[in-house]
Symmetry: C2
DNA sequence: CTGTTAGCGCTTTCAT
DNA sequence: ATGAAAGCGCTAACAG
């Protein structure tokens, strides 16, 4: 039913080969032939069949995006940028959530291979389990990691410098006179938080301050309870807090409220990740904002360059700096 | 280089046809042959080539999702559900943002056709310009609309009842004794807001109340300014406000703060769309929560049924009810 | 500059 | 139950 290249060629009175050359302008075609082909294609309403093209040429022009959860704001915004940039270059973006499970990551990668996807942009589910990603790359798929660097493993990576993020957050508080800082994180070995914690802790110690580490777990309610306990019991009470991700920020604010303390007056707070509502909290949150759009843009561009063979140099390891946005939740220590 | 069906067939000492039958269990294959084929496939590490399969069978098992902006929380969460549910059924989800522009919607639909995608889940960019969607459906692609119903145009739709949403929000406020309600929205003819505004307005009038319509525009700052003006000048001051989407909520809260008024005490507020931070605002926001996951789940299931031919009945028009979650931003009129 | 010829890897009649 | 053969629609050598 659909119009094929063959139909166009017949209508234009040329061979399929010539029609293909005219349509995709490569090789050489006489002006006359080209014109007739283009006209025939337009008249018949011809549309390239990308599937046939892909099978024959071995290139599906589809890039996969595999974050932990495509529904999370950080990854969703990246997906938006990725799809826009890739589309301009003629690629399509396919997405899945890995749920931070290596097993799912693996199975999705298999299905990618079956679908001949030439590129994968992934937020690796695990720091150490990445042989499947390396193997994928060795077999010829372009792989770009975001959020967690795998550059040491030979995989292009676009991340934010989480160590610096932690250090910068701490430095801000230290500059305000705080000396005992509470670092609030879910668990010891998940995602980007360990680096953030290390960065903050070292900055605090270097300034002669005291680190109060609060490992609160990954569940909102439990985390709130734990933070409450620690805040209430602590003999060396922190005067400032750094919750290391969005969930911890929620738990921390909830805890502060339960204890009837006030942000800024009783406790300074630097959160991670900006958010439209962060500005509307009372007081508005001082945050470390990750350059989300930048990461998406870079990842897409790098991917395109790798796929087009415009770039064949060593593995790229871009670390962006998070930006401190000072608003109202941090104040001089009183 | 990659292992093909041919290799497997050869290794198992059968024809390609038999190998295919064994691998995809259809037709009839003797137990012995089947076993040998399966073993050969496993030994050689055979993986189906979906592209070839798609070209030959005409089914790519790829569903496209085309929201206004995949980076927006509402759509991102839906994407997450969609990809999970579709994957279980062996489909892949491809996404793009239409930027609410019909033109982009059209061009993406073309590229879908070229890629032989059998299904589209779309948040229509426009209420009236939808012939391209109808045409797509007529040509055999399964189309499901979300967020805005196109059921009258013959396209399956899963939406929330925005009229009821507006009415329910207003009813809550009316029950609290409010009589003059401010309805805050960006513009007259964008997305789901007109229905919400109508629903709220009619509920208010039916209760003998007064509607203060505040059309604030689509830009956050400008909207804030306009809301400030209207709130300050209005001779018949509203005692409660309903901002009709997330952006309007932000603008409204900013405006209230600028005017040094207090939510709940001076003005009651019902926002649309729940949000983890809504609970952390002071006071926590009373909201109309849309059943996001439900919509995603329904859209995916319906799409699968249509694609598998398990459902061939009339056009589906599912309207979910948004849920009122009462928190602290609404109070009895004083 | 253009046509012919082979397939890409798979499914699907149609015989056997 | 199985095999042979014919493509799906396109690209890419290779001739001419």
């Amino acid at each position: 039913m659909p119009v094929t290249l063959q139909d166009v060629a017949a209508a234009a009175g040329v061979s399929q080969a010539t029609a293909a050359r005219a349509l995709n302008n490569y090789g050489s075609v006489s002006a006359g032939a080209k014109e007739r082909v283009l006209k025939a294609a337009a008249d018949l309403g011809y549309e390239t069949n990308h599937v046939a093209q892909a099978l024959r040429s071995g290139n599906t022009r589809t890039v996969n995006f595999l974050p932990g959860n495509i529904g999370a704001p950080f990854f969703a915004r990246i997906a938006h940028i990725l799809s826009g940039t890739l589309e301009e270059a003629g690629y399509v973006l396919a997405v899945s959530s890995s749920y931070e499970q290596v097993e799912r990551e693996r199975s999705i990668i298999e299905s990618m291979r079956a679908r001949m996807s030439p590129g994968l942009i992934v937020a690796p589910a695990h720091r150490d389990l990445h042989e499947h990603l390396q193997r994928l790359q060795q077999r010829g798929t372009a792989v770009v990691a975001i959020d967690r660097s795998l550059a040491e493993r030979g995989i292009d990576s676009i991340t934010v410098d989480n160590y610096a993020l932690g250090a910068d957050a701490a430095a801000h508080l230290i500059a305000l006179g705080h000396r005992t800082l509470g670092l609030i994180y879910d668990s010891d070995d998940i995602g980007s938080t360990p680096d953030r914690v290390r960065g903050a802790a070292e900055a605090i110690r270097a300034a002669g301050g005291t680190v109060v580490a609060i490992q609160a777990g990954t569940d909102l309610e439990m985390a709130t309870t734990r933070i409450c306990e620690r805040l209430a019991l602590s003999s060396s009470e922190p005067t400032a807090l750094i919750p290391m991700d969005a969930l911890m920020t929620e738990a921390t604010i909830a805890a502060i409220r339960q204890l009837d303390l006030r942000i800024r007056t009783d406790l300074s707070l630097v959160a991670v990740d900006d958010h439209s509502l962060a500005r509307l909290l009372d007081p508005p949150l001082t945050v470390m904002a990750q350059p989300v759009d930048q990461i998406g843009e870079d990842a897409a561009r790098l991917m395109i360059q790798r796929l087009e063979g415009e770039r064949t140099d060593e593995v790229v390891d871009l670390r962006h700096r998070a930006e401190l946005i000072v608003r109202g939740s941090t104040a001089l220590r009183n």
